[in-house]
């Protein structure tokens, strides 16, 4: 099986998996004794109010009708209505809180894996030395510290005393996009921005295609020219999309990640601000999780560094860095990747403590908020969303697995 058919098979396998997940969540919420509406009001509301809510949330329908409505809603990306008085759309709440969580999760996992691999490799290559022991103790201690405590210490030092970073929130109030909508509603950018973008985009895509052609040893005429022109036009389409947003939408808010959006927008001031707000919470989570990755990297590296092909690589006179990273780490990476997937999925569910410490408006805070309201439909929606996310992260991990280790594809 080549990589492509492996990916197709793996993606197809996800369909029954997610279907099963959805059905189980649906049944559990409805099969447990007691009725969500009753539990929500703790029997303190009038019969009419409860009946009203059941009707509005369509909980009075027969089970199979509810089930099909639920599936049909999911196909449209509709996770149902909240029990909160406004009967808000749960999807909209989740989708607007999710980019904050995603951004935090991405930066945290990058920091964790970066520190973890760097220190883990260091520890393993200097096995049993002072350096090794120091790194090991650091890994254990940093993971043992409660995350809210670490967060509060960092907050005190860097934000309250040193005033280097803001104490909480996601970005300066004026820079925030309005409401829950995905796009800025500010006036359009203009031609200057479009043309400052067009030059580098065209140049970069052209350069990339030429380098790729050279590596693949494809002759420039005529196949090479065609391919590079194709890449160039693809680059222009992507660029045109951005330009359109810049001109007519008044700014980019495509991903919902402020750091990336501000970069796409070419707004450096906003980017710096976004990073300043993001730094402390992601450092807190990243430091804590780096403990896991240090230990994991170290133990796996110690194993692979002993293998024959590492000695064989050294006997061929390869540089120590390519022996350590290209041979040992590359082969020790699969368990690290598994852990990355697990931790990342967990972070996507919302880092409740960290988000609360830094008043970060993500999924974790939304979930805490909904749980305290005993908002069962919202919780059900969040659980489904989280389940699908975990499935997707696992899919990505599996595909990366196959990419990293050719033996898995067969």
């Amino acid at each position: 099986m080549d990589l492509r058919s492996y990916i197709v098979a793996r993606v197809l396998l996800m369909i029954p998996m997610i279907f099963l997940l959805l059905s189980i969540v649906f049944l559990i919420v409805r099969v447990v004794p007691g009725d969500p509406v009753l539990l929500h009001f703790e029997k303190k509301a009038s019969e009419e109010a409860m009946a009203e809510m059941r009707r509005e949330l369509r909980l009075d329908q027969p089970l199979h009708v509810q089930y099909f409505e639920y599936l049909a809603g999911l196909l449209r990306g509709d996770l149902g209505k909240s029990m909160a008085p406004g009967r808000d759309s749960i999807s909209q709440h989740i989708f607007s809180a999710f980019p904050a969580t995603l951004e935090l999760a991405l930066f945290s996992i990058l920091i964790a894996v970066g520190i973890g691999i760097l220190l883990g490799v260091r520890a393993s290559t200097s096995y049993n030395s002072v350096q090794d022991h120091v790194i090991r103790v650091f890994g254990t201690v940093i993971y043992a510290i409660p995350v809210f405590f670490l967060g509060m210490i960092l907050l005190l030092v860097f934000s309250i005393y040193l005033k280097w970073f803001p104490a909480g929130g996601r970005i300066k109030p004026l820079m925030e996009p309005e409401g829950l909508t995905f796009y800025f509603s500010k006036p359009a950018g203009g031609f200057v921005q479009v043309f400052t973008w067009s030059f580098p985009v065209g140049l970069i895509s052209w350069a990339i295609s030429l380098v790729a052609l050279k590596r693949k040893a494809i002759k420039f005429w005529p196949k090479g020219l065609l391919i590079s022109l194709l890449v160039l036009s693809a680059g222009w389409i992507v660029y045109a999309y951005f330009a359109w947003h810049l001109m007519f939408r008044g700014g980019l808010h495509i991903t919902g990640l402020y750091t990336i959006d501000s970069l796409l927008d070419g707004n450096v001031v906003k980017f710096v601000e976004a990073v300043r707000y993001l730094f402390l919470p992601s450092l807190t989570l990243g430091l804590m999780l780096s403990g896991v990755f240090i230990r994991l990297t170290r133990s796996n590296m110690l194993e692979t560094l002993r293998l024959d092909f590492v000695t064989a690589a050294r006997a061929r006179g390869l540089k120590e860095s390519s022996v350590v990273y290209g041979y040992a780490l590359r082969n020790a990476f699969l368990p690290i990747l598994t852990m990355m997937g697990l931790q990342f999925a967990m972070l996507l569910g919302g880092a409740i403590l960290t988000e609360t410490t830094f008043s970060w408006p993500g999924l974790g805070r939304y979930l805490v908020d909904r749980i305290s309201f005993r908002d069962y439909t919202a919780i059900q929606g969040a659980v489904i969303f989280f389940g699908i996310l975990v499935a997707v992260v696992n899919l990505v991990v599996d595909i990366l697995y196959a990419y990293l280790d050719p033996r898995i594809r067969f």
Partner: protein
């Protein structure tokens, strides 16, 4: 190269001593061992497990595994004493001047890299000016020389059989045309038919590439007919050193004689194989005198207390044994 200069041996190992510094004490894996190797020669290094033959092989390229250290002696490759070289200088010699083939081909290639990538990396590390395409072309030529179809260069190691992987390992060892190739038990993990093919391949390559070959093995029968010179090692010591034919016809050391008697002869229908009694000594606490005396049928009194000297019994034939030392002593007196 100039022929008129005094020719240095390609590889010279001079009173090399290697210790493993363990928590329980020092283990002397190679004891004061010397030999020299010329261009195009084949040297067989024979000994049982733990005799120090692999350590000797690895110490030539300065890759003795931790906690091993070279405590004394020199290794000269093309006249350069590599024991004194820095890590970076030594790295440039490995692969370029000395090729190494390992015992287990199943685990000696990086499973996540294509065969071609192994070659590109090797060639471009030592010759940075070579492009990827040129490196691949050279790799395909070398693969062809070892009997692997050049188009399989884009396959991963797990797509090859054990014998083929060993051929790839050999191709990697000879790719930069080194002066010396060290093969550490290259056939132990393979079945008998493949074993013979690999050994013949090594011999042919030695002839076409003109390199010197060191064949490390525990199987005396393999090296007898293939090697110009043979060193028999026992518990870190050189016990006998002679040409293959000489060793076959006139083995002098009791240990070598024992090894030869334990090789089955295909022409004798009913033959009782003689095993050497006992097992090798614990090197943490080796016997005081000759390291073999406990298992030796001809051990005398002084074998127990004194270390036997190395004597040259006939030109080019060296033995470490009191029996032979006494004989030559007597001869001299007469």
């Amino acid at each position: 190269m100039n022929d008129d200069v005094i020719s240095l041996p390609l590889l010279e190992v001079d009173s090399l001593t290697v210790d493993y510094r363990t928590r329980d004490g020092d283990i002397r894996a190679v004891n004061n061992l010397s030999f020299a190797l010329e261009k195009g020669e084949t040297l067989g290094l024979v000994g049982e497990s733990g005799s120090g033959k692999s350590t000797l092989g690895l110490s030539i390229i300065q890759l003795v595994p931790v906690p091993g250290v070279i405590v004394n002696g020199h290794v000269r490759i093309d006249g350069v004493d590599v024991v004194r070289l820095s890590d970076e200088e030594m790295r440039a010699i490995r692969g370029k001047n000395v090729g190494f083939v390992f015992q287990d081909p199943m685990t000696s290639l990086n499973p996540v890299k294509k065969v071609g990538a192994h070659f590109i990396e090797l060639i471009r590390t030592h010759e940075p000016n070579v492009t990827e395409a040129e490196a691949l072309e050279r790799a395909q030529k070398t693969l062809n020389d070892v009997g692997i179809l050049p188009e399989r260069i884009n396959d991963y190691p797990h797509q090859f059989s054990g014998g083929m992987r060993q051929r790839i390992m050999i191709a990697l060892a000879i790719a930069l045309n080194p002066g010396v190739v060290i093969a550490d038990e290259p056939t132990t993990a393979l079945d008998v038919i493949v074993q013979a093919k690999i050994l013949d391949l090594l011999k042919n390559l030695r002839d076409t590439y003109g390199m010197a070959l060191i064949l490390i093995t525990h199987d005396l029968s393999i090296v007898l007919e293939r090697c110009d010179k043979i060193i028999v090692m026992y518990a870190g010591n050189l016990v006998e050193y002679a040409t293959g034919t000489e060793l076959h016809s006139h083995p002098r050391h009791p240990y070598t004689q024992g090894l030869l008697q334990s090789i089955p002869n295909i022409e004798l229908a009913e033959q009782k194989l003689e095993a050497i009694p006992g097992s090798p000594p614990n090197l943490l606490n080796p016997p005081k005198g000759c390291r073999f005396w406990l298992r030796c049928s001809e051990a005398g009194e002084n074998c127990e207390t004194e270390e036997p000297p190395i004597v040259e019994v006939s030109p080019g034939h060296f033995v470490r044994c009191f029996k032979e030392a006494d004989k030559s002593e007597r001869n001299r007196k007469r």
